[in-house]
Amino acid sequence: MAAGLESLGGFVLESILFKLDAKHAAAAACVSTRLRSAASDDALWRHFCARDFALYDRPLDPDGALCPSFKGAYKSWFGSFSMYPLSLVKRAKECWTSIRCWLSDNCPEISDTLRKGVSEAEIQQAEKILGVKLPAPTKVLYRLCDGQETFTTNAAKNKYLADLGIIGGYEFYEHLVNVHLLPLRMVVSQTKNLTKEVSMLTMPKYIVVAASFYMAKFFCLNCSSGQLYVGTSNLLENGEMMPCVPGELVRLKADANFDMPQDALLLWLEEHNRRLRSSMIKTRHPSSRSICLFPETSPYCSVAVTNGVQVRASAVFVPEASDANGGEESYYFSYSIRMSLLPEGCMLDGVYYSSCQLHSRHWIIRSKDTIVSNVHGEAVIGQYPLLLPGEEEFVYQSCTPVPGVPGSVEGSFTFVPGRLSRPEGRQFDVKVAPFILEKPEYIF
């Protein structure tokens, strides 16, 4: 006997509906009693919520409020975001959700600074004031999260909040950086300020989206091309900036091969999220409040153990101190050295020692295979760290410019077993395995 659409078994009819877009299911709901019933099944709308908005588990609306059904939640999201390709909304949402989750687990203070998304009207207002059209991916990102609430009118409070940038940063000598994502109101004010100071940027297409406020470090989105740039040491003088994301990935228009635009801000945040999740970057230690950008994983972080002394080393590119025409100083890097004594202690010539102390350092710095620096010196940042077994790492940062990349740093420390004031054996060299200095594909 011939079957009709309505008499197909529940599973088959349900499976057909699962393959539709929400609007097709809504049309089907108007066809007949049977189809209305099948198309109103909340399991179907739960599937649509997951598929189109990465909304799982609970029917929440864009503000995080609980809806009575998944159909209601879908309707709410659709109403709020249907002016964008849904695939883009889902992708941006997944990015933010992933970042928020990581922050919740590892730096709850930082996740608390994230603001609710702005409205479509607020975006249009900002575009009007600045005279630019923001790329769609950036708009969606701001619809989902309006940057950070870390800029108040209270200077003391700001100092406290300055460590809480979601991008994070680094510190060496007097150079302290921690990058925050700006809320839209600050995007507007900072863009106005910067374009006033730097005539090169007054073509109405750059907006400032992220910045550090200890040392000035600005990230500007080019709204025409969708690429993100970071200011070099010449930013205020002549607007010099470097691209932060591989150019070939940036596209503002969907085309035959790719169905959604992806601007550099989206790509940049996605890469940052990947690095957090792979532990390439993290907070320095569990009690630390800020995210540290020195890589912790190989191949960027080298490790060597000599006689029980472990040294980990990695570098971070410092664009705000770099200079396209800087000659010797073109590419500025900071490096972080972490040294510790393994729980077994210091083994030297078959004898075990329960401590050792650093006396001097030796660095060989290469730029494109040419040695540009070969220095010996006492201490590290003026200190002579004493290492005890199984204790927390002694960590310090220093810096070096190089004329060309890629380059590398390697070297050794001279230690004595016991302590310098009372050595218990001969001096020995502890290796620092080479670590790379390169201009990264993604600059943070």
Binding site: A2, G4, V12, L20, H24, A28, F78
Partner: protein, 173 residues
Amino acid sequence: MAKMIKLVSGDGAEFEVEEEVAFQSKIIKDIVADADDVIPLPTVSSKVLIQVIEYCRKHAAVNSFPLSPSSSAAAAASSSSSISYSKPVSDPALRAWDNEFVKLNNSSLFDIVIAANYLDIEELVDLVLETVADRIKGKQAQEIRRQFNIENDFTPEEEEALRRENSWAFQNN
């Protein structure tokens, strides 16, 4: 000499097919494993069984003897067993064949999907579901009724209320 399996339709017709063709159906594969070479299928008519066998024959041939680089890549990418259920079908020639295969009226399609579901032929089920879904997409309620010969059992008031209730889904970018 290929091992043959005998399938018997609901209306008593018998069909001998090569093992690898019949094994496109997971159910048949399991039954034969219990050493039974004659498989009665009382719920499947001969008309539908002929069409299902045709599909299985085509897909068994492609899965066992990849004819083009793209299909062999698909086969290599999926599991090492000779029967692969790689989705989606990546071989354009096979896709074209599938598209021709489903140029049937709705009633025939429904019969096939019911049989394929019963026989657990995943790819065929999915193919028909996609085809039927495509026939719904983009149509308004009245057009869907016409396409599938469905009676409008709403009162005008109910219809109007439903239209209003679902209008949100049609506001577009």
